[in-house]
């Protein structure tokens, strides 16, 4: 398919962030979604100084890397998620260990293969603790690939941590819980539940015994006591997808905001101490939405004019089609895919803060695994995606699911304070087919 070629940016999708002993920060960037598939070279692990200087990069072959830990040896342990492997890389960028070669064919001692690893730690016992999202399990393996411990009753978990007492803490994301297991896999502590946490993406046990949680879809950070009391919380609209939290010196907290394309450090009063972020605006936002009925087609690439296509797949490969289909009154655009991830057309418009907008359109769908949606993602002055948008994490009332005939969807949405622009998106999540037309976005 044709894709737009936007200017390369530094940070596309920061998934993991760590304080390093030398004072620098290690960032894992999942990569770009404005190019065809996971931009191979755009997923990377960066070590930056506090002044933003990049002092080390590893990006060779990475696809949608989710986590990186600097080891005591100076090496870096990386989950190369899209390649379904965990690698250890030396400071001069040599791969010194790669799960792809375990037992000659990348399999563990039980014959299984690592599937969608999203976190990995080298433990004091010399083994590697790995969270595998698509196997719904947490695995402790030795360097030869022998499984020494595993837990397989979680659902799309993230953010695993082995505690000093041998227990394992993790965010059981799809179950909306943070869970602590003992060495026998018994649940010895948990916090959360529906209505308490919404898709927690990370959990860390602090040195004071409390637990720090990235309550991702509630867009907040919580510190919770053993007794389940919320002792501290932090939320801000200038953050849209808080994925990873880490406590550093003096109780400061570093977090990654992956759709906001930024890494932020705050103190316990909520003051922002440091950020490393992206400047998204490389082209001028349009003043109004144009070609919302897809009447104008660029003859060279056969795509609607003024719209940009993007794909964002968590698993590589597959076919993508963007077609036109006639409706009664106008053209339509059709998005189709057969795998996980998302596909969209988008248009960036200028917007004003704190005012109501009406967003509307019509959608038809067939065999949707997840949903189709017309989204309005507000952006702040630096191009970061803001909380309060209509998006996958914040449905705002008009997700289209399954198979449906043409249906009008729409909502009034207030722009967040500090909004300067909005990204209007025809959005398809996971496999299926969706048609969009008559998109409009107006200030009220």
């Amino acid at each position: 398919m044709q894709v737009s070629n936007e200017v390369s940016k530094i940070l596309f999708f920061p998934l993991d962030v760590n304080y390093l002993a030398n004072g620098n920060i290690l960032i894992t960037d999942g990569g770009s979604w404005d190019v065809g598939g996971w931009g191979e070279a755009r997923s990377k692990v960066l070590e930056i100084t506090r002044s933003g200087e990049i002092v080390w990069v590893y990006d060779k072959g990475l696809i949608f890397a989710h986590s990186a830990r600097r080891l005591k040896s100076g090496h870096t342990l990386i989950t190369d998620t899209g390649n379904n492997r965990v690698i250890e890389v030396s400071p001069n960028n040599e791969v010194v260990w790669d799960t792809s070669y375990l037992n000659n064919k990348g399999t563990l001692s039980d014959g299984s293969s690592i599937n969608y690893p999203n976190d990995a730690h080298l433990l004091y016992n010399g083994r590697i603790l790995i969270s595998e999202r698509n196997n719904d399990r947490i695995t402790e393996i030795d360097k030869e690939g022998n499984i020494c411990w595993q837990y397989d009753r979680s659902v799309h978990q993230h953010g695993v941590q082995r505690l000093a007492n041998g227990n394992t803490l993790f965010a059981d994301s799809e179950r909306n819980y943070v869970v602590e297991l003992d060495m026998k896999g018994n649940n010895v502590w948990q916090y959360g539940g529906d209505g308490v946490l919404n898709w927690p993406r990370d959990a860390d046990r602090l040195s004071n015994g409390n637990t720090l949680i990235a309550d991702t879809r509630n867009n907040r950070i919580l510190e919770v006591s053993k007794a389940g009391e919320v002792l501290w919380s932090y939320a801000t609209p200038r953050c849209s997808s808080l994925y990873e939290v880490e406590e550093g010196p003096e109780g400061h907290i570093l977090y990654s905001d992956c759709l906001g394309r930024q890494v932020v450090e705050i103190d316990r009063h909520g003051n922002i101490l440091w950020t490393f972020r992206n400047y998204y605006f490389n082209r001028k936002p349009l003043s109004n939405l144009v070609n919302g009925d897809f009447a104008e087609i660029d003859p060279d690439i056969q795509l609607p004019k003024y719209w940009t296509s993007c794909i964002y797949f968590s698993e590589r490969g597959g076919s993508i089609k963007v077609d036109r289909e006639e409706t009664e009154n106008s053209n339509a655009v059709k998005l189709e895919t057969d795998r996980r991830g998302f596909l969209m057309l988008h248009q960036t418009l200028a917007a004003e803060p704190k005012r109501p907008y009406l967003i509307k359109g019509i959608i038809k769908s067939k065999d949707l695994e997840e949903f189709a949606q017309i989204q309005a993602a507000f952006l702040d002055s630096e191009g970061s995606y803001m909380h309060g948008s209509i998006s996958a994490n914040h449905p705002g009332g008009f997700l289209v699911k399954g198979t449906q005939d043409w249906k009008e969807v729409g909502a009034v949405i207030w722009s967040p304070s500090e909004a300067t622009a909005v990204d209007i998106r025809c959005f398809l999540m996971n496999s299926g087919e969706a048609w969009f037309s008559n998109i409009s976005f107006e200030a009220l």
Binding site: L123, Y124, N125, G126, R127, A164, N165, G166, D182, M183, K184, G185, N186, N187, V188, W189, Q190, Y191, S207, N208, G209, K226, A227, G228
Partner: protein, 496 residues
């Protein structure tokens, strides 16, 4: 309403039971008919406080000892020997006796001196000075014992000798004799005494693996494949199995048999000389390094320059805290910083060949609570899941050793013991996951149809529905309301 017989098997290892199950028909049958599994011990997993935790349904912070010795002020070392009088919360025997139950407690650690409880029988354990002392209650019971089994054997060790250094055949014979006495007494009490509750602990199941582990486990550092002792430990498990069968055949239709251990005994890979390590790392300073092996109590410690010290043969570290210990130097503001620093450094201690160990470190406040917690060690360490033990001794001039002056030792204690129960009202539930020693007291009470008192940390029984009988409205003043609230909060967090 049922009666309950509890058979305690000190150090019984659940992995060995499963490995040899086909040769242990009575355990196999009991597992099929009831509930069984692994049972989490206490930190550290040692005999005195483990059996006590099971009896009082509380963690060691509730009664104040973590070893055979203890302190009840902030002195350096653990100067006092544990005994039955210091256990303030009611053990099951006291609670059941208050409920008017007739009971017998045979060879249970930390029951010496035997409590004077009307209507109860006590025969104390190896932690008894000698049989010249009163080791029974009532006193007349001693005569009955002698008539039944002869001179009562308190422990495998002979006077003036440690069982670890005795001739293997001699000590093995003595262990069988000792255990046979216990089984004979247990059977006698079942058939003759009409008790509602009998609790007997067998010690041979701990002593045997300490002596004979190297002969069957090929991973053992001192594995001896061609020894005539190759099957010795298995034969002892079979001996226990045979007795389990005999005991079950004696039980009436109203009696539940509950077998459980206090911890397991597993392969010992070596010892880490923890005070030597603290000295090397600069946390402990001696006025004079000893010329021969000295236990902690004989060390000339320069307390003004010592931040941390270790006692015992399991991992227990105390900090020397300003305002707490008499010559404390660790600023209370630096307490957690020092704990974290020690934790990370100890997790990094490898084995004697430089290979990493699977070590666990526990902070006191994370696992223990109650009025005596403050006197306990500040950190507990299980080096490689307890496969590496500790020595408190100094004079090795090295970090690693294997034996101590107490003699050779094949086994170390493991954190997960065994349990199995069967009988009237016990469902054939099969393997149960997540049991703890703290489940024991509520389970005994459940099958005797007696409510669980306030303060017991786990309320539910090992039963079909994990049922909770309503709290006992006893005059339980052991915990203050604040303590009670702390416990309730913790339990709520655990989902109880």
């Amino acid at each position: 309403m049922s009666k309950v017989v509890v058979l305690g098997l000190d150090g019984f290892n659940p992995e060995l039971v499963q490995r040899w199950l086909d040769e242990l028909p009575n355990f196999k049958k009991m597992q099929e008919e009831g509930i069984w599994g692994e049972m989490q011990s206490t930190v550290p997993p040692i005999t005195p406080q483990a059996w006590t935790c099971a009896q009082v349904g509380r963690n060691p912070g509730a009664f104040g000892f973590w070893d055979f010795t203890y302190r009840d002020d902030f002195s350096y070392g653990q100067p006092k020997l544990v005994n039955s009088k210091i256990i303030k919360p009611d053990p099951l025997y006291r609670l059941l006796s208050k409920m008017g139950k007739k009971l017998a407690v045979i060879n249970v650690p930390v029951t010496y001196p035997p409590p004077n409880i009307e209507g109860a029988y006590f025969i104390t354990s190896f932690m008894t000075p000698s049989t010249d002392h009163d080791f029974t209650y009532p006193k007349e019971l001693k005569k009955e014992i002698n008539e039944l089994v002869g001179e009562y054997i308190l422990d495998a060790s002979l006077p003036g000798q440690n069982y670890r250094t005795m001739d293997k055949d001699v000590v093995m014979k003595r262990i069988y004799d000792m255990d046979s006495q216990r089984f004979t007494l247990l059977k006698h009490f079942i058939t003759e005494k009409d008790c509602d509750y009998i609790f007997t602990v067998i010690m041979g199941t701990d002593r045997m693996p300490h002596l004979f582990y190297r002969y069957f486990d090929e991973k053992h550092k001192r594995y001896d494949p061609d020894s005539r002792y190759q099957d010795t430990l298995k034969e002892h498990y079979k001996f226990v199995d045979k007795n389990v069968g005999e005991i079950r055949s004696l039980l009436d239709d109203y009696t539940v048999l509950f077998i459980h251990s206090d911890h397991s005994v597993q392969r010992l890979d070596g010892r880490i000389n923890l005070n030597e390590w603290l000295i090397n790392e600069g946390y402990m300073t001696l006025k004079e390094y000893p010329s021969e092996l000295n236990p902690f109590n004989d060390l000339k410690v320069d307390w003004a320059n010592t931040k941390a010290w270790a006692t015992g043969y399991t991992g227990q570290i105390y900090l020397n805290v300003k305002g707490r210990e008499s010559q404390g130097i660790v600023d209370p503001d630096d307490y957690y910083k020092l704990l974290n620093e020690l934790t990370v450094k100890m997790l990094e201690i490898p084995d004697d060949e430089g290979k990493p160990l699977n070590t666990q470190v526990f902070r006191k406040e994370d696992i223990h609570f109650g009025p005596y917690t403050e006197y306990g060690p500040d950190l507990f360490i299980h080096f490689d899941e307890c496969r590496w033990n500790i020595s408190e001794m100094v004079g090795y001039k090295k970090l690693y050793s294997y034996d101590t002056p107490l003699g050779p030792d094949d086994g170390g204690h493991g954190f997960y013991g065994y349990f199995c129960l069967a009988g009237p009202g016990v469902p054939a539930k099969g393997q149960y996951y997540g049991a703890s020693l703290l489940n024991v007291a509520p389970t005994v009470l459940y099958y005797m149809d007696i409510p669980v008192p306030r303060g017991m940390e786990i309320k539910h029984a090992l039963s079909e529905e994990e049922e909770v009988v309503e709290d006992l409205k006893t005059e339980e003043v052991f915990y203050s309301e604040d303590d009670e609230q702390v416990i309730q909060d913790r339990l709520a967090a655990l989902g109880y």
